[in-house]
Every structure is written in structure tokens, then in C-alpha cells.
């Protein structure tokens, strides 16, 4: 199973949709709240070169926003 990291804020709808999509497909993920975790925020910026959430890191493949098709493809769904 691929290692999935997701960077979120508590208020972000697309973050919720991304997490629900992963959960529905039984894909465990590690979540970092970049509103409170400054180290994770910097990590997200370094990986995605931008400031918007969600950012999904699937073993170094980076998705910005809820990219359902892209994420599904990366996970072989």
C-alpha cells in the first residue's frame, strides 16, 4: 500500500472531500494540519511550491486541491 500524506486546514471543504474519498477507498493516510503545525506547513510549501490546501503527497507525487482523477490514478483505483 502506498504511503499517503495529506496537508489540510480544519475549515477546508476540499480537504474533507479528499479525506472522505481516501477513506471510502480504504486508503489510510497521515494528516498534517498546516493551520497549526508550522513545520508541516513549510514541508507542504517545499513540496508543492504553493500555499493552497489540500496538498496530497503519494510517494512524492504531489496533488494540489482535490484532484479525484489524479489521486485515483496514482493509487490504482
Amino acid at each position: 500500500m502506498k504511503n499517503i500524506i495529506i496537508y489540510t486546514t480544519p475549515t477546508c471543504v476540499y480537504c474533507k472531500m479528499t479525506k472522505e474519498f481516501l477513506a471510502k477507498n480504504n486508503m489510510p493516510y497521515t494528516e498534517h494540519d498546516v493551520a497549526s503545525d508550522m513545520k508541516a506547513r513549510q514541508e507542504m510549501v517545499d513540496k508543492s511550491h504553493q500555499l493552497g490546501v489540500p496538498v496530497v503527497d503519494i510517494e512524492d507525487e504531489i496533488f494540489v486541491g482535490f484532484d479525484r482523477a489524479g489521486i485515483a490514478k496514482a493509487l490504482g483505483l
Binding site: 486546514t9 475549515t11 477546508c12 471543504v13 511550491h49 500555499l51 493552497g52 490546501v53
Partner: protein
């Protein structure tokens, strides 16, 4: 596949249309890559009739569930439609993945998307300090100086989204008076963090890797000024998503599809439209649903008439 009706779009208009079309037993397909429309990102919708409070995400789920309850009377294709052309008195639609769908009638419920500033720096710094969703990205601007562009309701609400986080908020407005609801205006104007800059025309978003400032023109005195800041939230209205049918229907100077407001029929035979993509005067969820239902009832008479 050949359908009596293909509904394009899954916002309130599309969902409302799908439910009514299914109940009329028309052979119907709804094609959409997302549910709920533009309200999806709203933290709290207070005017969806029957529910004093509902989040945009909850509303989207309710709309989707209501449509799904009518499967298989309505079929669902979770893809965007990329192309529509007329063929033998009906229509042929091509989806994102290249599927071909044929239909006797089409109902366009594609809504609208956010208007962009169209100034230098906007494309380069998009997502790099330029943000489009206050509820999503406000926490990322903790202790930062930010700008909100647009003094209508969406702009005012974005100011309130940013208020718990940003250290200072500049609200740029093109006119000499704000436009949003008076109640929200009061909240914004009484906030010590907020400075409203009136008669401001944004000229350029500055920054190398990330946003570092904004250059604007004071249209009253003609002077240009630059402010140092790290975030820009753009809330300057919407553009209708009418591009896929522009070659078939009549649109007005803003790109809105012109419809007969009694029936929602466009000026092209066999095509109807409802919701924010049309020249309806008020862009409202409740109105979009009602208009889409008017359309379906009229389409029903056309299909069986």
C-alpha cells in the same frame, strides 16, 4: 446511448432537474464532475429554504443523495462534458474521457466560475499567495498582512474568514461604497484589523516566489500606490460557464445564456438552460432549482408533445 434529456452540471439546478426528470420517467442522464455548485465552499448557508443552517458540503451531499435515490430512472455520469454539437435534430455530447452521448434535448446547468483579475502577476502567483477560497486558505495567512479584492458579499465574508488569522486586512473596492449586505458591512467596517481602500483598481500582483505586494491605482486621484503584503484573496464576481454551448445558443455581452424566463428555453431549439449560467437576474440556489424545474416541465412537453 440515446437520451430524451441530458442535464449538464450537478449544482442545485442540475440536481433539481434530475429529480423532476426522473419522476417524469424521461430517459435522462446527468453529467457532472462535482455536486453542489459554487456554494460547496460555504461554511454556513442560512437561506436554503427548509434548513436554517447548512454547510455547502452538506448541501452538496444532500443534492447528490436525492439524485441517486432516483437511479436508475436517472443515470449519472461523473464526468465533465467537454463538447456539445447538434446532430440530426438532436445533440451529441462528448465527455472528458471521450464517451459519446446522444440526446434529444439538453439542459445546461453549468453555473459560473470565479472572475479573475486579469493583471500581471496573477497567473504566476496563483496559489502562491493568491487564494480563491477564504474558508479553505485563511488559516495559512496567520499573522500576515493580506488583501481582499472586492467589496461585495463574497469579499466581505472573506474578510471575516481572515479576521481570526491575519494581522492586517486591506479590503480593496473599486467604488466609493461597499456593495455587500449592510449587516456584513457593519461587521467588517467596525473591525480594527480592516482598512478599506475605496476607488482602488488593482494593477499588478508583485512577488517572485510568493506574493510580496500589490500595486493599485486610486481611480479618483489617478495616483498609483504599492502595498507590501503576503496574501491576496480575489472576490470580484463570476463568469458564466457557457463556453461549451456558445456556438449553439445566444449569449449576452457577459456570456450569459439568454433564455425565455417562462420556460428556460434558449434561442436554440432543443436546448434549455437554468441557474447561474443564464441571464437570470438573481444568482441564488433556490432560484436555480426552481428555474431548472420549470425547464424540465417544459422539456417534458417538448419530448412528448
Amino acid at each position: 446511448m440515446f437520451y430524451d434529456l441530458v442535464i449538464v452540471g450537478g449544482g442545485p439546478a442540475g440536481a433539481g432537474a434530475a429529480v423532476y426528470a426522473a419522476r417524469k420517467k424521461m430517459k435522462t442522464l446527468i453529467a457532472t464532475d462535482s455536486w453542489g455548485g459554487q456554494s460547496l465552499v460555504s461554511a454556513d448557508i442560512q437561506n436554503w429554504i427548509g434548513t436554517p443552517h447548512i454547510s455547502g458540503l452538506e448541501l452538496a451531499k444532500m443534492l447528490e443523495a436525492h439524485v441517486r435515490a432516483y437511479q436508475p430512472d436517472v443515470e449519472i455520469l461523473e464526468e465533465r462534458i467537454e463538447k456539445i454539437d447538434s446532430k440530426n435534430g438532436g445533440f451529441v455530447l462528448i465527455s472528458q474521457s471521450g464517451q459519446t452521448i446522444e440526446a434529444k434535448t439538453v439542459l445546461i446547468c453549468t453555473g459560473s466560475r470565479r472572475r479573475r483579475l486579469g493583471v500581471p502577476g496573477e497567473d504566476k502567483l496563483d496559489g502562491k499567495g493568491i487564494a480563491w477560497c477564504g474558508t479553505c486558505d485563511a488559516p495559512l495567512f496567520k499573522d500576515k498582512v493580506v488583501a481582499v479584492i472586492g467589496g461585495g458579499n463574497a469579499g466581505l465574508e472573506t474578510v471575516l474568514d481572515l479576521n481570526p488569522y491575519a494581522s492586517q486586512i486591506y479590503l480593496f473596492h473599486r467604488r466609493d461604497q461597499l456593495k455587500g449586505d449592510p449587516l456584513t458591512q457593519e461587521k467588517v467596517l467596525s473591525n480594527k484589523k480592516v482598512t478599506v481602500i475605496y476607488n482602488a483598481e488593482t494593477q499588478e500582483i508583485l512577488g517572485d516566489q510568493f506574493v510580496s505586494g500589490l500595486r493599485y491605482k486610486d481611480s479618483k486621484i489617478g495616483a498609483e500606490k504599492t502595498l507590501g503584503l503576503e496574501g491576496v484573496f480575489v472576490e470580484i464576481g463570476n463568469v458564466p460557464n457557457s463556453d461549451i454551448v456558445k456556438h449553439l445558443v445566444k449569449t449576452d455581452e457577459w456570456g450569459q445564456i439568454v433564455v425565455d424566463h417562462k420556460t428556460q428555453q434558449t434561442l436554440a431549439k432543443g436546448i434549455w438552460a437554468a441557474g447561474d449560467v443564464t441571464d437570470v437576474l438573481n444568482k441564488q440556489n433556490n432560484i436555480s432549482v426552481g428555474d431548472a424545474i420549470k425547464a424540465v416541465l417544459n422539456i417534458y412537453s417538448y419530448v412528448w408533445g
